[in-house]
Amino acid sequence: MPETTHEIPDEQRDISFGRLPLGSTDARGNGWFGMAALVVTEACLFAYLLFSYYYMAFHFGRDWLPDELPGFKFSVPMTALLFTSSAVVWIGERGIQKGRNWICVAGLSGGALLGIAFVALEAVEWADKDFTLSTDSYASLYFTVTGFHMAHVVGGVLMLLTMALWAALGKFDAHRRDPISIAAFYWHFVDAVWIAVFTTIYVTPHLFN
């Protein structure tokens, strides 16, 4: 590929850009960057949610927390589920990069299933609580923070399933696979946010004790 520089010569007769990738290939189309920007703003959303949590927590101190602090019975398996799912999705993405369509389909749907299991476990934990959304400000924040995260998991699951469907329909190959990388990126982000949520809701209260 001949190099071009941003210094454009006076004589434009023999300028050439060489062969450039066409459309969305693994050379990163706009979509991936768009998703990166979306991730930034979603990350801020969680930052503000956690800000609200800590704002209340620092203001009211230990009394604010419920008698029975959120434990690890559900949250640790949930964390494990999400981490596994990230790995599985990664394998799926590698699959399409190598041109193995079925690995991709399996990886993405596997990740989605693990995500669904996560949501199910969280629902069980919600049902297990002896307070509700409207009990007090701690309860409101507990349900809102975890609920927001759950909604993002659901969104990610839908994306993964869509990509699995498209991959199964043979829409992608080793080079035309932008949407899969984009969905996988989002999924890893959802998992990363869980770490912040997990630390805030499940770990820090025990530090106050």
Partner: protein
């Protein structure tokens, strides 16, 4: 990068602009016709103009609300409005001006201008662009539907709890505002993503960051600001809605809620918002002034740096809106100090503009008049801003008309005057016709005198202690004269705006034909016919300096900008993506064609919010699923867009 199969690559053909090239491009880029075309268009030029018109309609609505308030306040003990009606009017005036006019109008200019200034053919995500517009329009309609429902938001644009909580506002009024704002947040976010990626990846080859027009810097900076700040306000309104509808305890004082949490979340967005509505306008003025001064902007790099710095600092000062809430002293001092520091970058810009005028040979045309008066307003707003940034003064001035005067000098002076400068300046590009200069100047003087007559006396009203948000005042307070002046001024200004509108209509239908470059301006958009063809640039320009059209005159740059010969990119709707910093060609991308999905997605999404408003869970469920389905089909991989394995139709 792994080797791509040949069918996934293309070598852009380099060639001159010819009649055949134009004809074939026009055929490829022509959108659909009729209703389908109207609802489905993704052309940034059409969308930009729609944005501007819609925002202008909201400006007029907000202006009428202001005029009614001013009649009520013209003299003491008026009875035109009940206290409740006054509350609704000032709330809707603030909401409209802030969220439905000031920000969207700048987006409109940017959407129209981005691809033209960058030397490309459309935005990075054309369908998302259409979606942003529709969502903006529908969120405005959503909020204004509160008038039909007889439940108008009445707690001010800042909407503080506890007054905005259900106990004090039981109807649907605040819910219209809360849900409408979340909807609008979606529009702002998608718009910001689009600006950011367009700026980073679609600059013409050679348009490195230090050759990019200031206006683009302004919009890009605030787009990042939006991405960081909009979630705060969307969350604030969402939590409020939960409080009102599901009995959560975020903002009420019972069960451990904190009203101040609202203020933090709200001002975390609403202070940076001030920059969000002024930085692109400052960018516009920075690009317009040099044209009429016949020389480049003095201190380009400093102005760009000031733009970015202002935004960054803007995130650290939100508490200066909360000086009177009893927060700790240390916090007061920090936020007061930080607010003073913001004046430094602003001063840099002011000096750069003044210097540009000083060393230039100004040609006094309407856009110049608006730009120059913009600087005056900017300084007055800055001075009263320093006064309110000082804690002891603010405690005295808080919630008086002084603050209102400061706020209007900022918003009207720096936003509206910038917008009007931009309107007069780019009107020939948008419509292909000139506006009448004589009428333009007359309208300018009405707006300028009207504005100052309205808001200068307000400083005195405030210093004499008149509180804001009161629907009337007793006689004998000494506030009568200044209030009367203010009311007269507001009508003079409104008349000026009316003349501007007449000027627009007259120019649109009867104006003189404008050539490609009626102002003799230096940037890329003026190198093409007015109005621009659907495909913008027949060949992709290659840029070699900051002022591509002034190169002969200035002798700057490393080579010669190429405008009539270059990559033709005519195998389908194509545009070039370049690298983030140096703008070197990276890949050829396909631009999406017209589509109805963005419109349908907006319809179902707005329906979803309406269902939430009315507590119809099943309808909400169905509409939510439909919205997702719209997204599913919208993003369906297309061979035509080079998104599908094995496809190659070029």
């Amino acid at each position: 990068m792994p080797q791509l199969p040949a069918q996934y690559t293309q070598e852009p053909e380099i060639g001159p602009i010819t009649q055949e090239l134009r004809a074939s491009l026009a055929k490829t880029w022509e959108g659909e016709t009729g209703l389908r075309g109207w609802l489905g268009t993704v052309d940034h030029k059409i969308l930009g103009i729609r944005y501007i018109i819609t925002a202008f309609v909201f400006l007029i609505l907000g202006g009428l609300e202001a005029l009614v308030m001013r009649i009520q306040l013209a003299g003491p003990e008026q009875t035109l409005l009940t206290p409740e009606q006054y509350n609704e009017l000032f709330s809707m005036h603030g909401i409209t001006m802030i969220f439905l006019y000031a920000l969207p109008i700048l987006s409109g200019f940017s959407i129209f201008l981005f691809p033209l200034l960058l030397g490309t053919r459309d935005m990075a995500f054309p369908r998302l662009n259409a979606f942003s517009y529709w969502v903006f329009l529908f969120s405005g309609l959503f909020i204004y539907a509160s008038f039909l429902a007889g439940a108008v938001p009445n707690a001010g644009w800042f909407n503080y709890p506890p007054y905005s909580l259900k106990q004090y506002n039981p109807g649907m009024n605040i819910d219209f505002y809360a849900l409408g704002m979340i909807l609008l947040g979606i529009s702002t976010t998608t718009g910001s993503i689009n600006f950011l990626i367009t700026f980073l990846r679609l600059r013409a080859p050679g348009m490195s960051l230090n050759r990019t027009p200031v206006m683009l810097w302004g919009t890009t900076t605030i787009s990042v600001g939006n991405l960081l700040a909009v979630p705060a306000v969307s969350l604030a309104f969402f939590l409020l809605w939960l409080d009102r509808q599901y009995g959560t305890h975020f903002y009420g004082v019972e069960e451990g809620g904190k009203p101040l949490l609202w203020q933090h979340l709200f001002w975390l967005y609403a202070h940076p918002w001030v920059y969000i509505i002024v930085l692109p306008a400052m960018g516009m003025v920075s690009d317009i002034l040099p044209v009429f001064c016949r020389r480049p902007l003095v201190g380009y790099s400093l102005v760009v740096l000031a733009t970015v710095t202002t935004m960054i600092l803007g995130f650290g000062v939100w508490v200066h809106h909360m000086f009177a809430t009893g927060i700790p002293f240390l916090s007061l001092s920090y936020f007061s100090g930080a607010s003073f520091i913001i004046t430094i970058p602003s001063a840099v810009s002011v000096f750069a503009w003044v210097a540009t005028i000083w060393v230039g040979r100004p040609v006094i045309k309407t856009p110049f008049l608006y730009s120059a008066s913009f600087i005056v307003m900017f300084v007055i707003a800055g001075v009263s801003g320093v006064m309110t940034a000082s804690v002891p003064a603010d405690l005295q001035l808080h919630d008086t008309y002084f603050v209102l005067a400061h706020l209007h000098y900022t918003i009207v002076g720096i936003n509206l005057f910038g917008v009007l400068a931009g309107l007069y300046f780019w009107f020939p590009k948008m419509t292909g016709r000139m506006m009448n200069e004589r009428l333009g100047v007359i309208a300018f003087w009405f707006v300028f005198f009207g504005f100052n007559l309205t808001f200068l006396p307000m400083h005195w009203t405030g210093l004499m202690g008149m509180p804001r948000r009161i629907y009337t005042y007793p006689a004998g307070t000494g506030w009568d004269l200044t209030n009367m002046l203010t009311t007269v001024g507001s009508f003079v200004m409104a008349f000026g705006i009316l003349l501007v509108l007449i000027n627009v209509m007259q120019g649109r239908w009867f104006g003189k034909r404008a050539g490609p470059n009626p102002w003799d301006a230096p940037t890329l958009e003026w190198s093409m016919p007015s109005p621009p063809p659907v495909y913008n640039f027949a060949v992709q320009p290659m840029v070699a300096s900051r002022h591509p059209l002034w190169e002969d005159r200035l002798g700057e740059g490393t080579g010669r900008t190429a405008l009539d010969r270059g990559p033709m990119l005519d195998k389908g709707k194509q545009q070039l993506i370049t690298s983030m910093f140096d703008s070197e060609p990276l890949l050829v991308s396909k631009v999406a064609s017209d589509s109805l999905w963005p419109f349908f997605a907006t319809l179902t999404m707005t329906g979803f919010f309406a269902a939430l408003l009315f507590h119809w869970p099943y309808a909400a469920g169905v509409l939510g699923v439909l919205t997702l389905l719209c997204g599913f089909f919208w993003n369906w991989p297309h061979a035509q867009l080079e998104q599908v394995a094995g496809s190659q139709n070029a």
